[in-house]
Symmetry: C2
Subunit: 286 residues, 2 copies
């Protein structure tokens, strides 16, 4: 498979795009990697860190004729760029996106004449850090990658996606875009809101007493870790997944409110019961 | 200091009590450690793991005449036992508790004739695991220990506490019991509820689809880690800290509800603003 990939373009030189670049470079140094990013700090840093060989504009000939284009930009930018980009690429170019939502993106290009050249993916990998400096080649190793509507991609595009995710060490899981968005609302997007708002609540109360954070243990750090995440990346994800995430968030608030009323009532038994139910998460995490 | 400690009794042979036992044994193998625990699985396991030298009943002569008694039992059990235990101990015995709440416990013994033999402490250390097998000698190393109302302990008790927390590698921080409970509500207890209820919300929705948890990334795992915690330990903490925790929980629910209404309204700018504010948590975590 590899022999067909001589050049590839990566849109977005942050944690995800940069980590793909490093992983590919390590294994196939002969592939030319073009980088596209509207943030000049990112392009400069990506060159310094040797993530990419050259920086290109989004509509350059090199990008349009790349064998593979990886989109690792915020999901609103994927939504805005994908149809025109599909139109402009050569007939042999494959585009793979890495967005954390799939419904809006898949829906938008479902009837595009070049839909078959696109693979809708979501590698389940990331850290709370962002930017080119956060990239590392093993980010994806041993993790799952979700591919949606794989049957709408033609054989060469399917092969290309399998080559890419295999080389970075991921296992592919296939599902439709609606199910992806519904499940990810619960097992990823909700966690981020829970963490962002926990961070905000505590900062609002403890704003004049930074020293108090010295008293926080590893438990606090673990639950607010995701509050470091990039708003530019997450606001578009939350909005594109509004339908499912709004339900998830309402259910979370409802559980918290139930717990709060039982706490206020001093209902020891009910608090214990709720926590014992929550303990079952161990079974699915291990 | 060490020369005055020939024997000590540990009530509660779980993560905290067991880790104190291991850390002391490693450094002072000549000190006799008695273990007290009403759970016979715990006492048996504690002997097997050589956490303690002998198992004793709570009102045994050896316990009453120990140089030091460490209480590492749930905070409701500390509350129930402390006054009578103080009454029974010898005049040279020091009792140090390790409970995660301090207001109720300190209030209860404030006027006890032997109050000066007691030191109210809260070592900020723990994991989501519990029981004797979870204990390890380095649990406390490099962490903070909060001591409340230190001025009510007599000099020998103060020295004993400083010896103990120094030997396990902790730094002491001093505050009054009310302030302890107020701050810990935000930087520890609220995190646990946030995590317990996140676990419960996701389990309720995804109950028939365990395979979906394969799609969860490290972010989800980080935010629900504390949902593994022991309800027997945490229900009494939440109830003893009801006043401050109830406020904290209401504020958290209010922040989440605000976020939810902005999400529902598709208010990109406001969502980003809230997340940027939450990002400031990085400054206090690093």
């Amino acid at each position: 498979m590899k022999k067909n990939i001589n050049s590839l373009s990566i849109f977005g030189l942050g944690l995800i795009g940069g980590s793909f670049a490093l992983s590919i470079k390590h294994q196939f140094p002969e592939i030319t990697i073009y980088g596209v990013d509207q943030n000049s700090d990112h392009t400069q840093k990506a060159l310094e860190l040797k993530l990419v060989d050259e920086i290109k504009l989004a509509d350059s000939l090199e990008v349009k004729q790349s064998d593979l284009v990886i989109l690792a930009i915020p999901v609103n930018a994927i939504h805005n760029m994908l149809p025109a980009l599909l139109t402009r690429i050569s007939n042999n170019t494959v585009i793979i996106d890495t967005g954390s939502t799939k419904g809006t993106i898949c829906h938008q290009v479902r009837n595009h004449p070049k839909r078959a050249q696109f693979v809708a993916a979501h590698p389940i990998a990331g850290t709370e850090y962002s930017g080119p400096e956060a990239a590392f080649p093993k980010l994806f190793a041993g993790k799952n990658n979700i591919i949606c509507e794989f049957e709408l991609s033609h054989r060469a595009a399917q092969d290309c996606a399998q080559w890419l995710f295999n080389l970075v060490g991921m296992t592919n899981v296939y599902m439709d875009a609606e199910n992806h968005d519904k499940h990810l609302a619960y097992v990823s997007h909700l966690s981020h809101i829970s963490s962002f708002m926990l961070g905000l609540t505590v900062l609002n109360i403890e704003k004049d007493e930074e020293s108090i954070f010295n008293l926080a243990g590893s438990g606090f750090e673990s639950t607010v870790r995701l509050a470091r995440s990039s708003p530019e990346m997450w606001a578009p994800i939350f909005l594109q997944n509004k339908k499912y995430l709004n339900n998830a968030l309402k259910e979370y608030i409802s559980q918290l409110t139930h717990f709060q009323t039982k706490l206020e009532a001093g209902n020891d038994e009910e608090l214990s019961k709720l926590m014992h139910q929550a303990n079952k998460i161990s079974k699915v995490l291990d």
